[in-house]
């Protein structure tokens, strides 16, 4: 079990930064219950962990490796291969921008640049104040509304750089008040 392994690490007095807290351990155990702990379930397991934690925390992956008997490097190999997975803690507002072809021909690149300027963040990372995280997706399948961004689950279609400025301003005002 996970706590035992943590104990050993603690007893040796090694600080690895991989220790897993009790709540984290509970969350992981709950996810593991649903699966057979087989290698074929790895992607589904990672998906559930990301859903639960919002990202793939280093220490949880370490614990997962012990539990399902798959070496950590293999877990990382799979997790880095698929673009769905992220290793960064997401911001308070999650922004996803569609860069599908339909959005591209309608000017999605300009929208992305404007977004980056306004929230000071690169795709795949979170702004320093923890307010916004930015993610790019290849096609959300809402091509009629392109260029489109999704902020906290709300779709904002037919975006223009100007609309981006207003949208971010609104969120920043909300945070300020």
């Amino acid at each position: 079990m996970i706590p035992d392994q943590n104990e050993t690490v603690k007893q040796c007095g090694i600080k690895t930064g991989w220790e897993i807290s009790e709540t984290e351990s509970h969350k992981l155990a709950k996810i593991l219950l649903k699966y057979h702990k087989k290698k074929e379930d790895l992607i589904s397991l990672l998906q559930e962990i990301q859903e639960e934690f919002g990202y793939l925390p280093r220490n949880v992956l370490h614990a997962l490796s012990r539990e399902i008997h798959v070496p950590e490097h293999e877990i990382f190999g799979v997790a880095t291969f698929y673009s769905q997975f992220t290793f960064n803690q997401p911001g308070r507002h999650k922004i996803r921008i569609c860069l599908g072809t339909a959005c591209h021909v309608r000017g999605a690149v300009g929208i992305l640049e404007e977004l980056q300027r306004n929230i000071n963040t690169k795709p795949g990372s979170t702004s320093k104040d923890g307010e916004f995280s930015l993610e790019t997706v290849m096609c959300l399948g809402s091509c009629a509304l392109g260029p489109i961004i999704v902020m906290d689950g709300d779709y904002h279609g037919q975006m223009t750089p100007l609309k981006v400025q207003r949208l971010i301003e609104d969120r920043q005002k909300e945070a300020g008040t």
């Binding site: 790895l42 992607i43 589904s44 799979v78 997975f85 300027r117 399948g141 009629a144």
Partner: protein, 627 residues
């Protein structure tokens, strides 16, 4: 209740049909992702509340159905039994619709679709030009049923094909019918489905696996999603028939995680089918055992390739492997595996139910049946279009799609996603089928049609697709991994105005190497967007390289913005909004842009209240001409 025989299924169908009152008013709302993004959920709630408020919620049914396909005008609503079609419905309009149309039968003309060519109002969905020229075999039922309501599906003739197969046909006969019908894989390459099934059936080892490929990774394509979201039982039925024909007991749905609604609906549909005894042991009292598992893809385009998908199902990095052995001989865990696309599976029940002759009568000489396309980009009627194979591109773009918005001219249609090619406007009369598109250097792909107008830069487009394949390349083969990177670098240089004459020749030789030296379809077809744009739009490449000019005024390094001093009113709108503080000028006096500070984002052009007339987007040549 579990159905234990074919007779019980038929009895259930009869009872569903008897219970159904064809005259009961029903409000059908499209709840596909497109309409959902346009606010369908709120409209639906408003309808329910309004009906409740008036105490008629038991007399009028509210149904949220699958995608209607007319995404441009969402949220779409059809009022049965009359079949009145309202588009772009807003929450504020709901009380009016209930009060007048639902209760009194008065039609609200403002909400009807207006035919742009005749300016006439259209009452019924089927008369809208967008629908009139389509043949909606696969998508047709989407608007009539609640996606995860199995009784709706059975009431509309669902599982009739399965009953026929189980009751009257041998597995070999089923394969024979699919073969004779001429069904070809809808995922891209167009391999005959019957042949694939036959190989899998003949393969001696057990167990055998079936896979439904719903990893629709092509950017700008969403037909498979709509089928899974709107009519998941039809795909399931196709797969159960396939299981009977091939002799398989386990199937997988590999669905993109980016399609949460599709994932949800197929899981629910499988659960309902299991409860009814349509999945699991002894399906409908027969010898057939079959069940499915839903797997969420994790966002890798290459997993659409069958060998990569199998690796992904096994929980590994989704990297392709050489063929042979083909999946039909050695697939998932080394066992025979048959992979078909969502649309291919959905075609199977139709063929069984309506017969070979019916299916043979639709489509062109070599490509039979219908094909669903997602028509997107610079087009008036964005949406899903289903037409018989061999329909001309002109019909799809102009008659169904309504042509290009804002009075612009058509430049090209990109077909087949990152593996496909650009078809120039001069070839607009090409019949759209597997062979017709291949001749032009494009390919059917899964059916994404991206329309581009004169404001689209073809070099930029090629760069877009190469950057896509470059980032999605799994890295196994050197030509694909490094070749696409080098291509991208060259295209970037060209679009930045650093192109040299040698670049075109280098691109061409890279294309040949990548095409010939890659293992899987991703690499082999990655050069297509570059090859076709070079073939049909070479002059644009040359303009970028020789004149340092982007004719479509897209490539930022080759354009700049200027303010027309005669038109500028000095309102300061652009100055306030300019993110680079590059605009200077006193109120009520003409402004100017400092070219050294300008980042060419175009915000000034959008903010200009005189609508882009004071701010000009110029390329090098037009500046010289202006001077």
């Amino acid at each position: 209740m579990r159905l234990r025989s074919l007779i019980e299924l038929e009895a259930l169908r009869q009872s569903i049909l008897q219970k159904k009152d064809p005259n009961k008013p029903c409000i059908s709302l499209c709840s596909g992702t497109g309409c959902h993004a346009s606010g369908e959920k709120k409209v639906q709630e408003a309808f329910r509340n309004e009906l409740k408020k008036r105490g008629v919620d038991d007399k009028v049914e509210v149904k949220s159905t699958g995608c209607f396909g007319f995404c441009q005008f969402g949220p779409n609503v059809v009022l049965h039994p009359e079949g009145t079609f309202y588009h772009s419905v807003r929450v504020e309009q709901v009380p009016d619709i209930v009060e007048k149309t639902v209760l009194k039968g008065v039609i609200l003309e403002d909400l009807l679709y207006t035919d742009p060519s005749t300016n006439l109002k259209i009452f019924h969905e089927k008369d809208v030009p967008f629908y009139a020229k389509q043949m909606r075999n696969i998508l047709g039922n989407n608007g009539l049923l609640e996606p995860t309501n199995i009784e709706d599906y059975i009431g509309l003739g669902g599982f009739v094909a399965l009953a026929k197969v189980l009751g009257e046909m041998k597995p070999e006969q089923v394969i024979d019918v699919v073969k004779k019908a001429g069904l070809r894989g809808r995922g891209g390459a167009g391999f005959p489905t019957g042949l694939k099934w036959e190989t899998a059936r003949r393969s001696p080892s057990y167990p055998k696996y079936l896979v439904c490929n719903a990893d629709e990774g092509d950017p700008g394509a969403y037909m498979n999603r709509s089928v899974l979201e709107g009519n998941p039982f039809s795909v399931l039925e196709g797969m159960i028939i396939g299981a009977y024909a091939i002799g398989s007991a386990e199937g997988f749905f590999y669905v993109r995680a980016e399609y949460p609604l599709a994932v949800k609906n197929i899981i629910l549909a499988a659960k309902k089918a299991r409860e009814r005894g349509l999945l699991g042991k002894n399906i409908l009292g027969s010898e057939l055992d079959f069940d499915v598992k839903v797997i969420k893809g994790a966002g890798a385009f290459v997993c659409g390739e069958e060998t990569a998908m199998m690796a992904s199902i096994e929980g590994k990095r989704g990297m392709p492997r050489p063929r042979p052995p083909f999946p039909a001989e050695s697939g998932i865990w080394g066992k025979p595996t048959n992979i078909n696309n969502v649309e291919t599976w959905a075609n199977v029940p139709l063929i069984i139910r309506n017969g070979v002759d019916w299916y043979q009568g639709i489509g062109s000489k070599t490509s039979k049946g219908t094909k669903v396309f997602s028509l997107v980009g610079k087009i008036k009627n964005t949406g899903l279009v289903e037409v018989p194979m061999g329909t001309s591109l002109r019909t799809i773009v102009f008659d169904i799609g309504g042509g290009i918005p804002n009075g612009k001219a058509l430049k090209a249609v990109q077909c087949g996603g990152p593996s496909g090619g650009c078809i120039p406007a001069s070839h607009i009369d090409v019949p759209v089928d597997y062979e017709g598109l291949k001749e032009l250097g494009a390919m059917m792909g899964s059916g994404g049609l991206i329309v581009m107008d004169e404001d689209t830069c073809m070099v930029d487009m090629a760069k877009y697709f190469v950057s896509f394949t470059q980032s999605e390349s799994c890295g196994k083969c050197v030509p694909c991994r490094i070749g696409t990177k080098r291509m991208l670098e060259i295209l970037e240089q060209i679009t930045q105005g650093k192109g040299i004459n040698q670049h075109i020749a280098t691109l061409e030789s890279l294309c040949a190497t990548i095409r010939d030296g890659s293992l899987c379809g991703l690499g082999q077809t990655a050069p297509n967007p570059v090859l076709t744009t070079l073939m049909y739009f070479r002059s644009e490449y040359e303009a970028h390289i020789n004149e340092k000019r982007c004719p479509a005024k897209v490539c930022k390094a080759l354009i700049h913005f200027e303010i027309d001093k005669d038109k500028c009113t000095g309102c300061q709108a652009c100055k306030v909004r300019c993110p680079a503080k590059a605009i200077d000028g006193q109120p009520k006096k003409p402004h100017s842009i400092d070219q050294n500070l300008c980042i060419k984002c175009g915000v000034c052009q959008q903010t200009c209240p005189t609508k882009a007339s004071a701010v000009m987007r110029l390329d090098n040549l037009s500046t010289e001409a202006a001077r």
